[in-house]
């Protein structure tokens, strides 16, 4: 296996609520190789967005913090503990991020061209003219039609899909090694989603990017992921190559999630809902976070928390039922 571009080890992110710190992300391990898309899939409150923000050094202080012992390595360089100035040099240059709402994530009072050029100017120290030419090149790259004319338009003059292309252009302007995509297609219609997903895939292949793709949609995962990390209540509960995950889900949560999804390609008969609700970060007990909703939970699941154990060469799972049996 090639040297990972991004390696997250034992990442814990806490938020202050009612005078106490609660972990929104707990002991997360992830890694991404060049030309690899790792999909992080989970429901609301699973901590997937917080994980990405932590990688960017954008966990909002003072309400949130990265706990001691966490490690985030980008091409071998430790990011946790870097100062703001050093982080600014990395952000947007070596690692970039695109967000869910392309409407609100762009500055309404700056033209699209200025916003793309801004990152180039910040990281490459280019002059206004050169930065503008570079911005045009990137906008062409992400297939914004007649980019030369449109780069002086403002974000509100673009459609949702085009805005997301602009976001991608901004992220890729400085040729980052890793792209973090936080539900970039959730706010888009399915036909537009398909276009944006193909764009990300093409760019990944052409530029050797590592992509961390966050989504709640298992269907999207199936389309784009090489590997998958399933998150629940702040933890990674299962990682697997995409094909194997859908074929043989190992964690009861993954299994239940697949069984509860209505599908467009075939009749599934009766759906099997997961009982109960996604827990908030303040109400997680000492045991497995999924135990209260798990159909197979045993006494031990409620008492102590399982570890993420490797299973074979490429998989791992956090479940007593899997690790206990040989």
């Amino acid at each position: 296996m090639t040297e990972p571009l991004l390696e997250v080890r034992d990442l814990t992110v806490e938020f202050r609520s009612g005078g106490a710190w609660h972990p929104a992300v707990r002991n997360v391990d992830l890694s991404i190789a060049p030309r690899e898309t790792l999909a992080v899939v989970g429901e609301s409150g699973s901590g997937k967005s917080v994980t990405a923000l932590a990688v960017m050094g954008l966990v909002p202080a003072p309400a949130g913090r990265i706990a001691a012992g966490s490690s985030i390595r980008l091409s071998g360089r430790e990011l946790v503990g870097l100062g703001e100035r050093e982080l600014d040099r990395v952000r947007g240059d070596r690692v970039a991020m695109i967000f869910q709402e392309p409407m609100t994530a762009l500055n309404p009072t700056m033209t699209v061209g200025e916003q793309v050029a801004e990152s180039v100017r910040a990281h490459r120290g280019l002059g206004a003219q050169a930065a503008r030419r570079e911005a045009l090149r990137v906008l062409d790259l992400v297939k914004v039609p007649s980019a030369a004319r449109r780069m002086d338009d403002y974000p509100h003059q673009f459609s949702g899909g085009m805005r997301q292309r602009v976001m991608i252009a901004m992220a890729l302007a400085c040729h980052p090694a890793v792209l973090l995509a936080d539900e970039p297609t959730t706010a888009l219609d399915v036909t537009i989603q398909a276009q944006v997903l193909s764009l990300v895939e093409d760019l990944k292949r052409e530029h050797g990017l590592g992509v961390l793709f966050i989504t709640h949609n298992l269907g999207v995962v199936a389309l784009i992921a090489d590997r998958v990390a399933v998150m629940y209540a702040g933890e990674v509960v299962e990682t697997a190559p995409a094909a194997e995950l859908f074929e043989t889900p190992r964690h009861p949560y993954t299994e239940a999630l697949l069984a509860s999804m209505p599908r467009v390609d075939r009749d599934v008969g009766a759906l099997e809902p997961i009982q109960g609700n996604v827990p908030s970060i303040r109400e997680i007990g000492p045991g497995c976070a999924f135990a209260p909703r798990c159909a197979h939970a045993q006494a031990r699941c409620r008492e102590s928390r399982p570890r993420l154990e490797p299973e074979g060469a490429a998989r791992s799972v956090r479940c007593w039922l899997r690790t206990a049996s040989p």
Binding site: E43, S44, P60, A63, E183, T186, H216
Partner: protein, 286 residues
């Protein structure tokens, strides 16, 4: 994965209000002023109207802690009694402005269409018109009296209330729970009274406390110009005016009522601010 859309009355606002020390300062200042007004005669039993020409323009002494004015009246007694007038006029005019203004705003917001357009542009004019000049004009037309003062100040503050009530009405009208009410066959009256008004009341009340401060300021300004309650009744604005006329001989005359106004208005502003910070969902973003 939509985050819970912030519903207008934020939960736990009382806790946030209590946690804010400046709101407490506001509460304390207002409580002090209200108590002083209520217990004026008990605290300082001198008659605010009793003239004593022999003792005019006296500097502060033990007998007259704040001195005496041009007619030899006790300034402290006048100050305490003036508090009643200021608070009464403020409270009545705000009650009037709040009731009528909110009703106009809610009607405009709910009905929409040309009615809303007409009301809104009228409000814009009224809102940007110099409050003081408007009050001045009304009192000049009606003649100065306490009732007219209340009306004049109420008129100057209709627009802010209408505006504050209108915006959330429009938001709430578009909310699914109001639409659900229509789908359930509820009447417009029921939708407004049961489903819309309770949800915007908190905002209106916050504005009321802030505009009460403005009302008291306007009343003082009108009195200062000479269009307030007729003498010899004591008002803070009137006292400053009298003090101002003797500012070279007896500067303390203007000082005491100035501070009284300042304390009252600051207290109300602190209180209103604290309330708004506690309730306004935008202010809660951390």
């Amino acid at each position: 994965m939509s985050a819970p859309a912030a519903v207008l009355p934020a939960r736990g606002w009382t806790r946030r209000f209590r946690a804010n020390p400046t709101s407490w300062l506001g509460v304390a200042l207002i409580a002090a002023v209200v108590l002083a007004a209520l217990l004026a005669s008990t605290i300082w039993p001198l008659d605010p109207l009793e003239q004593n020409v022999a003792e005019r323009l006296m500097a502060p002494t033990a007998a007259h802690p704040l001195g005496t004015d041009t007619f030899g009246r006790d300034v402290l007694a006048r100050l305490l009694h003036a508090a009643r007038i200021s608070l009464l006029i403020g409270a009545f005019s705000i009650a009037l402005a709040m009731t009528i203004g909110s009703a106009i705003g809610i009607a405009a917001g709910y009905l929409g269409g040309w009615f809303d357009a007409a009301v809104t542009s009228l409000l814009d004019v009224l809102l940007s018109f110099p409050t003081l000049l408007l009050g001045l004009m009304v009192v000049a037309m009606l003649g100065p009296s306490m009732g007219n003062l209340v009306i004049a100040i109420a008129i100057t503050e209709l627009a802010p209330f209408a505006r504050v009530a209108r915006a959330p009405t429009i938001t709430l009208k578009g909310r699914d729970f109001v639409e659900a009410g229509r789908a359930l066959g509820f009447s417009d009256l029921r939708l407004v009274v049961v489903h819309i008004i309770p949800n915007l009341l908190s905002e209106v009340v916050v504005v009321a406390s802030l505009w009460l401060a403005t009302a008291i300021r306007t009343e003082a300004s009108l009195s200062f110009i000479g269009l307030g309650v007729k003498p010899p009744t004591a008002t803070w604005g009137g006292m400053i005016r009298e003090g101002f006329e003797n500012i070279l001989d007896a500067p303390w005359l203007a000082l005491a009522p100035s501070l009284a106004i300042l304390v009252t208005v600051l207290g109300l502003n602190l209180l209103g601010d604290g309330l708004r910070d506690a309730i306004d969902p935008r202010a809660r973003r951390d």
